[in-house]
Every structure is written in C-alpha cells, then in structure tokens.
C-alpha cells in the first residue's frame, strides 16, 4: 500500500496541498493495518516468505509514527516536494525489510530503501555541496549493498568442506558492508558531509528511519542466514564487531562532544549509539541484544525530533547562529531530545543503554568503561548545545509562529516518557527476538 501511495505521491508531488495530506493518510492507514495484523502470521509473495514478528510490528509502528511526524513537519513547515514520495517509499521498503524472512531479499530491499533518499538529499545545488554529499552516500550504499549481498550469496553456497578462513573472510566482508551502510567509524565520511549539506528532514529520514532499519536488518540477517553458530566458533568475527562498535561508540562521542553545530551533534551521537549497540550485539548475549535493539529504535526517534528542531532553529535564526530566542519551543524540543539520546532515566532510552553497559562490563571491564566514557562525552556534547542555545538567555517565552518542530519534539518526548515509565510493552517483543537470536546461535 505504501509503495503504491509513493507512486501516487510522485505524480502529485508538486501539489503540496494535496500530496501532504495524501501521504499522511497513507502512513496512518499503514500504521492501523500493522497494528491490526495478528502476530506470527506468515505469507508468501513471489516465492519469498513473509512473517509478522513482534519485533517487526514494534519497529514498523515506531518507523511509521516517525515518518508521520516527519511528513507533517515537511508539509506544514518546510515544503520540499521530493520528500513525500521518498518518505512513502522509505516506509514501504522498511516495512518490507521487517517482514521478509530471506536474508538476500532483506538485504536487497534494504539497499533499495537506502538509495531512495538520494532524491531528497539534493536541493539548491548551486548554493551547497548537497550533490557531492548525495553522490558519496550513493557510492557507500552501492558499495556496501553489493558487497554484502555478494558475501551472503557466497556464504549460502559454501560447501561443507570449505576451510574456516573462507568463512571468516565472507563474514568480515558482510560486517564491513554493514559498517559502510551504518556509517560506522571509520566509514562515516559521507555521514559527516550529509550532516552539513542536506535538508534536516531528509537527514531525519536517513538517521531516524533508515539507519535503525539497517541495524535491525543486520541482526535479522545474522539470525536468519545461519551464520551465527560459525561466528561463535570463530572468535575473530566477534572481535571485529566488538572493535568496530567500540571505535564508533567512542569516536562518535568524541566528534559529538566537539561538534560545531546541532545537526552534526545529532549525527555523531547516532553514530556513537550505533557503535554501542554493535558492542551489545558482539557480546552475543540476551541483555546485549535487547539493549542494542531498544537503544537503536529509541535513538532513531529522538534523532528525528532533534534534527527537525535543529532545522527549525537554523531557519528562524538565519543568518546568525541558532539561538533559543528565535524559536524557544524548538530549542526546548532539541534539549529534551538530547535527554533521550544519552539514555537518561526515566525516558525509554535508559533501559537499553543500561543493559548494554551492564553486559559490556561483564564481557570486559575495559569495554564497559569505554561505553560509559562515550556516554559522558555525549552528555558533554549535549550540554554544549544547551549552552549555545540558551547561553544568552531568552527574553520572552512566547511561542514561535508555526511551532511544528517544537510540538513534534514534545510528542516524541512524551511518548518516550510514557514508554520509559512502562517499558515492558516495548521490551517484550525485543526480548522475544533475542530468544530467537540465541536459539539461532546454538541450534542444538
């Protein structure tokens, strides 16, 4: 339904008064259908198996809700006609990734989804480097996508008598392919350029929706491809995941702590949280997997709110530096989004981060210390942003005209607060998936 709606939105894209509500209705209808679909139902399309899992439904719900808020913001506050069909197509591919059960098909659909936003990354091409940023993104996705699918295909056709080195090489290529797609350090150069040059809503679409989807796809592919038992036996692969995760967690946090503007702060914080989540997965333990997935889903939602708020602050304050004086509600939304990003209690980001850091300590004290250090650096970065926004004070606390980003940020904050007070409903489907992961790890 979303894919058909994307085609319709493409035809209507220059009629903003029509395409905005059309996209919102399509996303709302898809959200209702996702909620109404019973759990663990299976189906087949073109000989590809589909399954509605608890994690799939939870992630689909969060992704569709985030897309709804992004489309609402673009329609009301930041008109960009390419965004509507892009958002619907991204929604369609993300939901497809979450219901497919064939690893190759999941990867193929993920690559499609990651390529779609290229159209909404480029804008005002004479005034900025958005074409260069989009070209780099295109290159990273094509490279990571093709290498990943090729390594999965080769791994699936490996004969049983293949030496362990061949297997290690293929899994290393698969992990590096995902590191390219997730913009993990040291493969983050395209993310840095995107952060500076593309519209905030498109950036939120990428870091708020597609990056969490990519992470979930990575974990699902590991589970469904049958690679996990061999990964346990070959410690090198676990070490590689661990190394990339720690580098991203600490490196991203360092970059975030010195970020020159709000957008970069958010993007580097996402990279740092993704790194911590990779460490959680690398522990190959229940709490690590639950913490990683919970943290990534919350990071996507809070990054979307923060990026929209950063965009509004930039527009209202231009040509000066963003300040809370010009858009106090958006500034407040940015700050409370930061709380979720660092995993502060009682917000929903806390349980995930707590699980990850706890299990990281159990895994290796140095790893746990590194994750705590990364969190401290993120706090420093967010505090710097608060000082930059509110340092000169706010003369009058009057709402800015069209406080769309501020309201969206508040909605996300309230949702994360309610989820944090009652985390059971959020964590249960993730725990159920963690069980599947652990069963795939030790099939006997």
């Amino acid at each position: 339904m979303l894919a058909v709606a994307a085609c319709g939105a493409f035809a209507l894209r220059k009629r903003l008064n029509l395409v905005g509500p059309f996209a919102l209705i399509a996303i709302a209808a898809a959200f209702v259908l996702v909620l109404l679909s019973p759990l663990d139902t299976a189906g087949t399309i073109l000989d590809l198996q589909l399954r509605s899992s608890g994690l799939g439904r939870l992630a689909s719900g969060v992704i569709l809700a985030t897309l709804f808020l992004l489309v609402l913001d673009v329609w009301l506050d930041e008109p960009a006609y390419n965004f509507f069909p892009t958002a619907l197509a991204v929604g369609a591919t993300s939901l497809g990734v979450l219901v497919l059960t064939a690893p190759l098909a999941i990867f193929g659909l993920l690559v499609l989804g990651l390529l779609v936003p290229v159209g909404s990354f480029t804008f005002q091409v004479h005034r900025n480097r958005s074409v260069e940023a989009a070209t780099r993104h295109f290159g990273f996705v094509a490279l990571g996508g093709c290498l990943g699918i090729a390594s999965l295909a080769l791994a699936a056709s490996l004969p049983h008598d293949q030496p362990a080195n061949t297997f290690v090489l293929l899994v290393v290529v698969l992990v590096v392919a995902f590191a390219l797609l997730l913009a993990a350090i040291p493969f983050h150069t395209h993310a840095a350029l995107l952060a500076g040059e593309v519209p905030p809503a498109a950036l939120a679409l990428y870091f708020g929706v597609l990056v969490p989807t990519t992470f979930i796809a990575f974990v699902e592919i590991l589970t469904l491809s049958g690679l996990l038992p061999a990964i346990v036996q070959v410690v090198k692969v676990q070490d590689l995941l661990h190394g990339i995760g720690l580098t991203s967690a600490v490196g991203g946090a360092f970059l975030a702590s010195g970020a020159p503007d709000q957008r970069r702060l958010v993007v580097y914080s996402v990279i740092s949280n993704l790194g911590a989540a990779l460490v959680g997965i690398a522990t190959l333990s229940g709490p690590g997997i639950i913490g990683a997935l919970a943290s990534v889903i919350v990071t996507g939602a809070s990054a979307s709110g923060q990026l929209l708020a950063a965009g509004t602050l930039e527009r209202r304050s231009a040509p000066e530096r963003p300040t809370a004086r010009k858009a106090p509600l958006a500034a407040l939304a940015f700050v409370v989004g930061g709380f979720a990003m660092i995993g502060a209690p009682p917000l929903l980001g806390f349980p995930g981060r707590f699980f990850m850091e706890l299990i990281a300590y159990q895994f290796a004290p140095l790893t746990g210390a590194a994750l705590v250090f990364a969190t401290l650096l993120l706090i420093v970065g967010q505090l710097r942003a608060v000082l930059a926004l509110f340092g000169s004070g706010v003369e009058r606390w009057t709402l800015e005209p069209r406080p769309v980003a501020g309201i969206i940020g508040s909605v996300i904050f309230v949702a994360l607060l309610i989820g944090g007070i009652q985390p059971d409903g959020f964590l249960r489907p993730i725990a159920s998936f963690a069980d599947e992961f652990l069963r795939a790890l030790r099939p006997l």
Partner: protein, 195 residues
Amino acid sequence: MIALGIVALATLAANGSRQLRYSAVALLGVSLAANAMTAGQLTVTQLAVEGCGALVACGILYVAARDRTYGEDPGWRLWLATIVAAAATAACFATLRTASSETVSVPLIGEDPSGVTAQVAAFWLISSGVAILVTAQTPVRGSLGAILMITGVELLVRLLTVPQLGLSLLLGWVEVVIALAGGFLIVNERVVREN
C-alpha cells in the same frame, strides 16, 4: 567461455570510454552476455525480468547523458581499475570459489553447468565495479561501477539453489533504482558544473 570473454571486453569498453552513452551501450553488452552465460539456470520469466532491468538501467544512463560528448575521462584510473580487478578476480576465485572443486570442463560455446565461468564473471564484475566506484570522481563513473557490481551480484545469486523469481525481480529493481539515482546525480552534477 565466449560469453565470459564478451563480459570482460565489454567491461573494459565501459570502463575505458570517455562518453557516458558509449559506457551505457557497453553495459548493456555486459548484461546480455551475463544473461546468456546463465540462461540455462533460469526460467524465461526470470531472464526476461533481469534483462528488462538491465535494459531500463542502461536506457536511463543513456538518456541522463543528454548528449554524446558528456562523460568522465578515466585517465590513469582505467589502468588502475583494470589491474586491481584482474588481481582481485584471481584472488577471489582462489579463496572464495564455491563451485565444485572437481575437474570441470568449460565449453567454448553453450552452457557451463558447473557455474565456474559465471562465478569468474561475477568476481570480475564485482571487483571491476569496486575499483571504478572507489576511484570515481563524478557520478558518471560511480553509476557505472555500481551497475557493474549489481550485475555481478545477480550472477552470484543465480548460482544459488533457492527460489529465484522474487530475488530476480528484487535485484532487477535494485539495478533500475541504482541507475535512476545515478542518473539523477549525473544531471544535478552537470547543472552544478555548467553554472
């Protein structure tokens, strides 16, 4: 073997061309030869799907060029990409070959049931694509590298003993979307360059 030779020569032609339109035509040659190589392993529907995907992708790049002179001069990158691709193909075939390790006979014309030629072609296309993409200066060679890579991936996936129709359709779409995104970037990059 002849199809493998055509894949190699057409890849070199696409890589060495200074005009995007010639590269697009050479890419079509690569896809046709790759499809001919594995024709016996796919149904007519699957072949038609992947053939259409390749045709549309090459058509998009041809149209995106807008005139016959537009393109990117590969310069020294042509030689670098060729040498890297040749070395990587040999290394990949030595370490990652999943085709039968028994003695195989590779016919000059006709189907190769062992899949050795298809796997060599896949490794060649993927390593050429990586080398071209990594050294690309503009979206012209970026798109070229990406389409070569996805053609190689299609060949590898065809060798799997799993239901293929859904995967063929999906990979055909990936190829078209790569060409669409690449074409979009080529047009935008040209606008930036000309102003």
